[in-house]
């Protein structure tokens, strides 16, 4: 009655394991992955298109000191972000991009609100 299923189970004892041992081995990802955000500060023109298109109202423009004076640049709250990629698509100078780094951990939730200087990949 159960002989065939048992034989299949016993045969699957020699299959290789499919899970990886996480902190020691990591996955290989392709290049168009949508994980951590990265802002290229000299190229940003402060148009606030990313703020308007974000579905969650996660991006806000804050005052940032640069070499050319005080400009408004995007600040992102990572704990609310959907990683949908709409801000990357709508940015006219392609300065806000989503990279493929996916391990960002912190003990305190307030470290997840990333100012523009911290987004400098």
């Amino acid at each position: 009655m159960l002989i065939k299923s048992l034989a299949k189970t016993a045969k699957s004892l020699k299959d290789p394991r499919f899970t990886i041992d996480y902190p020691n081995e990591k996955e290989q990802l392709s290049d168009n992955e949508r994980y951590m955000l990265r802002l290229d500060m000299p190229t940003c023109i402060s148009c606030a298109a990313c703020e308007r298109v974000c579905p969650n109202k996660t991006i806000t423009m804050v005052d940032t000191p640069t070499e050319k004076g005080v400009k408004k640049m995007p600040q992102v709250g990572i704990e609310r972000c959907l990683f949908c990629g709409l801000c990357q698509e709508v940015c006219p100078t392609k300065c806000l991009t989503l990279t493929k780094g996916y391990d960002f951990e912190a003990y305190d939730k307030r470290e997840f609100v990333k100012r523009p200087e911290e987004l400098e990949g």
Binding site: L2, T9, A10, L13, D15, R17, D21
Partner: protein, 337 residues
């Protein structure tokens, strides 16, 4: 020096009231019992580790790897975490019965393993009715599950308790008929005699039908797939263990593997020749055969789908009982007459 017979028990009880050398005998017995009990618990812990690793390998994943080398201390970490939590009884439960049932089950299973002969010379062996005593006490397990389920006071526990009693009605009688046929083949109920009379040929080759019936009944008793109806994990949330709080749950986890060790030992002693084998120590052969049987039961757990209750009743009365009777008659005709 530690072997008793029934008249020796009577003498012992008489001298208990009148002499002082009884303390030394009781000390030796207690030391033996405590030592073997610790070894049994260590082996049940080891069985728990084996089960986790084997089921993980079948399912193409790793199993515990971090705590201790190869994950050996994972179960210990689980037990320590569970023991540190707080204990409470629900308001609608019967507190005395609820607090007593699980420790009684664990004590009963360890006591039963102590009664089995582990080597030809030690153990509380040479009991003339060892087989009957073991199975009489073994039948208390489903009753204790019933008590725990009823005393827990919620509906899932009651359903599980009812299922436990109904299951017991279906597999106990075929199991007893098979034991009767084993006693008939060996011409005694003494466990040491049963093992020694398998020195030429094991009983599984003489009675394959009887082995099949006994195996199915033992699986149902041990609450293992495909018969884990009492603690049906995906239907009633945990059956009779639903309202059990964390320190008692430790006992329940431990009980699972202790019962499996007990069941494997009984099957090996009755059908596979016990400690017979050449070369190494007899205890080594017994434990290795029990381990192989236990691994087979674990692979069965990973494969099988759970049976329904009425199907189990039909299986017990319409399939197992006739097979056990046929086995008894054929064994009588072939080997005794």
């Amino acid at each position: 020096m530690l072997t008793f017979s029934t008249s020796a028990i009577a003498n012992w009880l008489v001298s208990l009231l009148s002499s002082a050398s009884i303390v030394k005998q009781a000390e030796g017995l207690a030391a033996y019992a405590i030592g073997v009990a610790i070894l049994i618990m260590a082996f049940a812990y080891f069985l728990g580790w084996i089960e986790r690793k084997i089921i993980a390998k079948v399912q193409a994943r790793h199993g515990p790897t971090v705590v201790g080398k190869y994950g050996l201390l994972q179960n210990l970490a689980d037990f320590m975490k569970l023991l540190a939590k707080s204990n409470f009884f629900p308001k609608s439960s019967d507190k005395l019965l609820f607090a007593v049932a699980l420790p009684a089950m664990l004590a009963l299973s360890i006591f039963l393993i102590l009664l089995l002969p582990l080597t030809p010379s030690t153990g509380i062996g040479n009991m003339a009715n060892g087989l009957l005593i073991v199975f009489a006490l073994f039948a208390f397990m489903p009753l204790l599950i019933f008590i725990n389920g009823i005393a827990s006071g919620n509906k899932f526990g009651e359903i599980s308790a009812q299922r436990s009693v109904i299951m017991m009605m279906s597999y106990e009688i075929p199991m007893l008929i098979v034991i009767a046929s084993i006693g008939m083949l060996a011409r005694s109920y003494d466990l040491v005699n049963i093992v020694e009379s398998q020195a030429h040929i094991w009983y599984i080759f003489l009675m394959p039908l009887g082995f099949f019936v006994f195996f199915v009944a033992m699986l149902a008793e041990l609450e293992r797939s495909p018969f884990d109806l009492r603690e049906a994990d995906s239907e009633l949330i945990a059956g009779w263990l639903t309202d059990v709080s964390a320190p008692y749950y430790t006992l329940a986890l431990f009980l699972d593997y202790t019962k499996m060790f007990l069941g494997s030992l009984i099957v090996v002693i009755l059908f596979f020749g016990g400690w017979s084998g050449y070369g190494l120590l007899p205890v080594f052969w017994l434990v290795v055969k029990a381990l192989i049987f236990a691994i087979f039961v674990m692979l069965l757990r990973a494969t099988a789908v759970r049976m329904k209750l009425d199907r189990l009743l039909r299986l017990g009365w319409l399939a197992l009982m006739p097979l056990a009777l046929i086995n008894l008659i054929v064994a009588y005709l072939l080997f005794v007459m």
